[in-house]
Symmetry: C2
Subunit: 258 residues, 2 copies
Amino acid sequence: MQEIEPGAGGGSVPALRRAVRILDLVAGSTARPNAAGLSRALGLPKSTAHGLLAAMVELGLLERGADGSYRLGVHPMRWTGGSVARTDLVPLFYDHLASRPALAAYTVTLSVREGAEVVYIGCRNSDRPLGVTFRIGMRLPAPFTATGKALLASLPDAEIAELLSGPWPTRLTPRSVGGLAALGAEIAATRAAGYSLDDGQVREDMVCLGAALRDHSGQAAAGMAISLLRSDAAPGRLPELGAMLAETARTISRRLGG
Amino acid sequence: MQEIEPGAGGGSVPALRRAVRILDLVAGSTARPNAAGLSRALGLPKSTAHGLLAAMVELGLLERGADGSYRLGVHPMRWTGGSVARTDLVPLFYDHLASRPALAAYTVTLSVREGAEVVYIGCRNSDRPLGVTFRIGMRLPAPFTATGKALLASLPDAEIAELLSGPWPTRLTPRSVGGLAALGAEIAATRAAGYSLDDGQVREDMVCLGAALRDHSGQAAAGMAISLLRSDAAPGRLPELGAMLAETARTISRRLGG
DNA sequence: ATACGTGGTTCAGTATAATGAACCGAATTC
DNA sequence: GAATTCGGTTCATTATACTGAACCACGTAT
C-alpha cells in the first residue's frame, strides 16, 4: 500500500505534498488541466482532488478559468520576494542588464541553487537566438551549468562533496563532466579565475560563463551566466568575457549589499 | 472547539492552509523566525509545527539557516511564472522598460489583481527617489491605486460591484475615494481616457498613472503604473504621460498575445 | 548547585480528513 | 433515443495525520 517515492522519502502532510505537485504541474507546462485531469495525473481519488483544488483556489494558489481549467494563482507571487536580498534580486538583475549594452549580444540568466540543482529565476534573451530557451523555473544539475559551478565554487569543498554525495546526475552531453574529481578541477579553476565555464556540458553547441552574486553577508545569494553559441565563442575572447561578467556580478553584488 | 476564522471560511486540508500562512509570515517580514516562534505565531502544537516545517524544508518551500531559523526556499520561484502569459510577463516587462528611455524618469510597477487588492510583481525604480518603495509581493487596495483602477475598469460594472461589495477598505490618505459611486466616476474616466489616475490616494505626495496589459484573450492579465512625485506632476503633462503609458501597455500587450 | 526557560524530539491515542462508491447532469456516440 | 463517457458532487466509513504530554539538551539566572 505504501507508495514508492523515489529519491526523497516522505510520509507526512500529504495535502501539502500534493499541492506542491499540483503547482509544479500547473506551472511547469502550458497545459491548463481540469480537476479530472489533475486527479488522474496525481493518482488521486476524484473527491480528494476536488477538495484539495477547491482549497487551493480559496487560498489563491490556483485560479480557475471559465472552462473549469486551473491555472496558477497569484498568491505565490507574494513569496518569490522573501528575504530582503531576494526580493530585490530579480528587479535588480533586469535593471542592471539594461545599463550594460555590452551584454545585449548574449542571453543572460539568473538562477539560484536548490540542492544540487540550479533553478532559473530570470532570463533576458539575446537578439541572436540560441536555440535554447531558459524558462523561469527550469532546473538543471548544478555540476554541468556555469551558474552551478560558480555557486558551488563559493562553498567549502566538504559541502560540495556532501551535496553531490548522491548518485551523480546523468550527463547531458558527451562533454558533461563526470565525477567529483573532474568537477574539483573545474571548481579550482573557477575560484582562480573568478568566473566559471560550461563548455558544452549542457548543450554541445552552447558555451556559458557564470559568476556568483553575493549579498551583504558575503554569501552567494544567486548566480548569473551568459550563454552563447560555440560558433560565436572564439577561445581567446572567453577570458575577456569572463572578466566582464565577473565585473557585472560584482556591481550587482555591491547593490545587493547596500 | 471550532476556531473562528474571519472572512473566508475553511475546513479542509489544514496542512496546506498552515503552510500558506507560514510562507506568508516568512515572506512578509524580514524576521527569520525559528520553529518555536512559528509554532507560537500559528497557535500550533510544537510537534505539529516541527512536522510541517520539516516537510516544507524537504519540499524546498523553506530553507533553514545555520541558527535554526527559517527563511523562504527557492521552490516557489518555479511557480511565479506559471501560465505562458505570466511566465513571460515579468521578463517582458523589465525587458521592455529597458527599451523605453522616456520612462526612465519614473518608477514603473507591474502588478496583478487578487480580489479587491493589487499585488506588486515587478518594479523598476527611477533615479529620482519617490520616498516610497514598492516591494515585490506588497498589496494595496485596488480602488485607490492606479493599476487597480485600470484593472477594475476592464471588468463589467456588475463584477466590480461584487468585488467591492464587502466592507470598503480604510482610506490611505484624505484623498482616497470612498464608496462605489465615486469610484464609478473614476472607472468611467479611465475607460474613456485609456489610462487611470491615482491622484494622491495612496500617498498624498504621489501621483500614479495606470494601464492594463491584455493577453491574447483580451483579458486584463496584469497592470502597470508609473509613479511620480506630485511636485513633478504638472497637471498639463498628465494626459501626455498617460498616452505614453497606454501606448507602452499596448505594445507589451501585443507581445503577450504573440 | 539548583531552578528555570527555551528549543527540540518522541510516541501512543484519537479526532479528523481522505476515501470510494453511489449519484447527477451534460455532451457524445451508436 | 438509449448507451456511454466525462466531469462533478455528496456522504458514511475508516485509515491516518495531528495532538499533547512526557522527555532530552542546553543555556542562563537565581
